[in-house]
Symmetry: C2
Subunit: 243 residues, 2 copies
């Protein structure tokens, strides 16, 4: 059995206010490397696979350990294994991608957590990353942008209830382009994955916007016979229903 190191890394996506414009923008947390190779360079969160853990469990554990983020969605992306991708020996990396809802972006404060070396970056304006992580992020962005157009994956980035305008802003932030409101409304209504809650936005407006939610009986993405690994957390219950 040849000597090859097996690691996991995760590309985590969330919508965060742009540091200059304040508009929600697709963002990725990165970890600054504190040792060679690539000391001082930013990299995707990850670590070695523990022999007792499944790959998905390794991905969840390492991303919580390094960034404090708990994702709403986690899916295997691709396994990167070019012989020269690490300068200190052969390392194959099973890469996952994850989505995080706004309320799940916790701020870690416990001892042991080195906030100085974790930061969120705008997905389309990352620094030059360690290893082959530039290529990994480019592929993850492509997969997310492809998938948001034909699946309910935006569910992983938004709160449990939302207006159609808020949902459109999520799609616009992911795709990095402006969408026509009337076309977007028609597409959402014909998709059958988003349903009206019967509630409206609270406030004194004459015609308060209606609130919607995803039909949670539908999966975020269709993985066919592949068992989720680890099980994808179910969406949070709507606030107020049983809290």
């Amino acid at each position: 059995m040849p000597e090859i190191g097996l690691a996991v890394s995760t590309v985590i996506f969330a919508l965060r206010p742009h540091p200059e414009t304040g508009r929600p923008v697709l963002s990725i947390p990165l970890v600054r490397r504190t040792r060679d190779p690539f000391e001082g360079r930013w990299a995707l969160p990850g670590g070695w696979v523990d022999p007792a853990e499944s790959l998905g469990t390794s991905a969840s554990r390492t991303l919580v350990e390094t960034t404090g983020v708990r994702p709403s969605y986690l899916e295997q992306l691709y396994t990167f294994g070019a012989p020269d991708r690490s300068p200190t020996g052969r390392v194959v990396s099973v890469v996952y991608w994850a989505l995080v809802r706004p309320e799940q972006i916790g701020e870690r404060t416990d001892a042991g957590f080195d906030a100085h070396n974790v930061a969120w970056f705008v997905a389309d304006a990352l620094p030059h990353l360690a290893f082959d992580h530039d290529d990994v992020v480019a592929y993850a962005l492509w997969r997310l942008r492809t998938k948001v157009e034909y699946s309910a994956i935006a569910q992983g980035l938004i709160g449990s209830t939302f207006t159609l305008s808020e949902l459109r802003q999520v799609h616009e932030a992911v795709l990095d382009r402006v969408l026509d409101p009337a076309n977007f409304r028609r597409q959402v209504e014909s998709s059958g994955t988003v349903v009206a809650t019967g509630e409206h936005v609270q406030g004194g407006r004459h015609r308060p916007p209606r609130l919607y939610r995803y039909d949670t009986s539908a999966p975020l993405a269709d993985l066919g016979p592949l068992a989720a690994d680890p099980p994808i957390p179910t969406p949070a219950d709507p606030p107020g229903e049983n809290s």
Copy 2:
């Protein structure tokens, strides 16, 4: 760096005559294991990743070594890594899937090749396989069947020119269901991926069927920014053009 074995396996699809009906049916070559674990059980072709090889190169090499088959298409499917999938130690398997055209199904006759332990099986009627390969094949079948409906992937299973009826039979064999000829023709014509060659089937018929080919400027499947690993072989040139 924990001790984990890294292997590759490949699910190879080709259309072969059904052993009873003679109709083309989706088929998979398997290799009989000649040692423990699972001695005597059929398994997907594969082997250990060589530290000097890329993952795609390992997949190509091991499938040629074990089955003699050279694929027209090779794509990474998924990495399987449940801690208990091998009874003799932790093994993570990067699985590829491959398509083979009829003319590429060679019959190996060289000395080192053990034809006794390689056989083609009907994809939907496999024996119970070694390791977690039953699950691997189920996922590969789902991916192929999903992909054939929205991509030019059938190109990897058919000769360089074909009639629309032959192309429909490929889709029918992959999907394992009968398709309406008129609907199928409309879908193909609107897809823009298949073009008429201007030739017809040779023979004395009153209205010989037209011959088509794939527009080879279009990729078999859109992998976005992910470089093919190894480069996917280009489709064979149409016979007679430069041979």
